[in-house]
């Protein structure tokens, strides 16, 4: 298998993987970055959301060969110690129940706030509707995004 070079969380890493492998599995099984979650494998649930050059993408549908020199950021790279304003807002609003979808929610929310620092409720709802939370924490996710918007 070819060795593929990637820029993940500011570091250059090499992985030996089938070029068709989705970035999700490269992160989880080759690089041991398990904060990016598997939920559906068909870009419907958002648990696998990462940033590619700052934009939210579904890593389960992104072949590793297509990444090239684009910068990947995962939840592990969002901040050194979990002190990104969005992560802090998630703690402040005590959003999580089971917590499985929350890293994906945070990555989507962070990309939203980067492109739109003061989103309206309708914009938050539109941007966040690709991320499923079976525990039903949507109201707190919205509050956390508003809390973070004030801090950013």
């Amino acid at each position: 298998m070819p060795v593929i070079s990637l820029n993940v969380n500011g570091k250059t890493v090499s992985v030996d993987a089938d070029p068709a492998t989705p970035v999700l599995w490269v992160l989880r099984e080759h690089l041991n970055l398990v904060g990016t979650k598997y939920g559906c494998g068909v870009a419907q649930c958002g648990t696998c959301t990462i940033h590619l050059n700052g934009n939210a993408v579904r890593s389960c549908q992104l072949p590793v060969s297509a990444v090239g020199k684009n910068a990947i950021t995962t939840i592990e790279g969002l901040s050194e110690n979990g002190d990104h304003p969005v992560q802090k807002a998630w703690i402040e609003q005590d959003v999580a129940q089971c917590g499985y979808c929350q890293t994906g929610q945070i990555m989507t929310a962070t990309a939203l706030l980067k492109s739109n620092p003061n989103p309206t409720d309708a914009q938050i709802e539109a941007s966040m509707s690709g991320n499923i939370c079976r525990c039903g924490t949507y109201l707190r996710i919205k509050e956390a995004i508003k809390t973070a918007a004030k801090q950013m």
Partner: protein, 751 residues
Amino acid sequence: MEKNKTDYNRRAFLKSTFLAGGGMMISFSGLAKLSLEDKINPADLPADWHELTGYIKITSDNIIKIFNPNPEFGQNVMTSLPMIVAEELDVDWKKVVVEMGHHDNVKFGPQFAGGSNSVRMYWKPLRDAGAAARNMLLTAASQTWNVPVEELTTKAGMIYHEKSGKSGTYGEFASKAAGVSIPKEVKLKDVKNFTVVRNSQKNVEGVKIVTGKPLFGLDYTQEGTLIAMIQHPPAFGMKVKSFDASEILKMPGIKDVFTLKLYEDGFEQAGFDTRTFNDLLVVVGNTTWQVMNARKKLKVSWEPKGDTKDTMAGRNGKREVIVPGALESTATHFAKMKEYAAKPAQLLRKDGDPETAFKNAAKVLERTYNAPFLAHNCMEPMNCFAHVTDDKALIVGPHQAAGWIEPTLSKVLNLPADKIDMQITRMGGGFGLRAYGHTFVEAALISRKVKAPVKLVYTREDDMTYGIYRPIYTATYRAAFDANKNLIAFHVKGGGIPEHPIHANRFPAGAVDNYLAEGWEIPSNITIGAFRAPRSNFNAAAEQSFLDEVAEAMGKDPIEFRLELLKRAKENPVGKNNEYDADRYAEVLKLVKEKSGWGSATNKQYSRGVAAYFCHNSYAAHVVDIIKKDGQPFVERVTSAVDCGIVINPDAAVNMVQGCVVDGIGNALYGELTFKEGVPEKNNFTRYRMIRHREAPKKIDVHFVQNEINPTGLGEPPFPPIFAAVANALYKSEKKRFYNQPFSNDLQKKS
């Protein structure tokens, strides 16, 4: 002040030991919680059940560590259970370190996350453990300072002797306290003086969650771990006939392809050993992606398995159950349910003379309600890590009841339970599905076969099409009225595939003179299991919609009508074994009425629906407010009232109720799994509609009845009544009744 005994028949619930390096450790027995129910005499239990679990550690340098004894799947027990200990121990919560306790042995008793029971069953033993530890620390301090113990006080992990001005940390006395004998009796704090419990505390794993730390089963791995997937039949009622793996064995990373039996013939299944497919066709390889791809190219021919036999273990000996082999479809399910609904059914409860009352009634209202199979759709698909060797097993995974799956593993692997090290991870949702252990057994068998550590991964498609669903249900309700529109008789006849939904002793049983409840069941090869508030989630939906219509037929306000029935049930209850407390039930209705401004002109822009329900020892009521958005009804706002006794962690409890509301609205409007010739017609979120962010209400106001009753369930009780509150609000909005879930099907038909 409450006093609790810390032993039973001279067998201690609590045990103290010295910590290596200085300090004390308090352990408590799993059977302490059994005494809570007073149904089991702890003295009758085997001696090894007295092994101690869940503990407190206080080191000499004053690090206070509290272990959470029960599995965490989002219900917040990792935070709320240690809070109970911290309260009685009287320590600064901010300085407490919380860790997951061990779940590696059946001896520890029923460590079970389900039935909304975690807080309820641990309330007393955790208070006792905390209070006993504090008591022993005080004894140690009184001996050291040579002062009477009565003169000592504690605050936030410090011991004070006011007269002498002496003070010290718990850590300073921990080593000495470890040698103090366990007090025979402990005094518990007055609820009014609580400083940790009843105060909102953040999720102790919050930071780990938002930074993506490896908390979940799917995140667990070890050096050399292989990935396994099972190719299960495409339809219920099928099995593997033959397969050809020659091509995929040449694919990179693929190690092995083989079949295995989950259970040998005649295996006695315990209640949660549900199996859907017994012949496992397994693909093992290096990475998930390699195995996923290889599986797609695996050539398999399937065949109908015909009728099969399950051997079920039971208290009165084993019994055999025939599982029909025919391939089932939703259309035939409905036809069959209609046929069964017309036949005589099993009598579940009868009060008075309902037959005569219906015969003589001036008017009878009859309505039928239906609800489909539902998939759990936990965000983390099913998975389990196993490393099984000849003499021991390590099993790591997300499971709601380690104590239930371990005996099964022990039997299947033929290993003694103490050779099975079981580690329970945080669960990415459970909702009942993770009480079942097949993935754990499958992973263990696969590991033993390939002689390597293995992680069994279910894809979303595997997860959604495996079975263990919420059953398909139907119920016909009838109400009889006299000439003055008084309700004189009530009849419910419910059935399902393969179980009926009826809780015969719940409201309105006890409130109507003539009452009849009946149930019937149709066997099936589509497996079912517990799903957030089993049976209640349908009962509440149907019964509370029907009561709305009954109130309307009587010309009464739906809340006032329920309160009248509850008054009757309290003052002059009909029949025996009524499960609910009419006062507490009425209280949540009154609270939701007040907080929602029910009947107030300021809310006239909303189409409003109300419903309430009792289950899992708690009471919940909701008022749902619907508006029109783009011409479609939209649940804009919900007001909830809940009585679950003392609320341990208020903000987390609000989160739980809000989650129940959102989950309930989603399942009421969209949740549905249908079948054609045994094939589930949805296998991923592309077709299985889950409630999305934009579909959630804008506001969910949660109110708790303030009382000092020992805590009861919260993870389930607010879920069932939301279905009916939505249906009743939809009626106001759409001017038609909604009898069939998911309601979005009828809404689409209309538009």
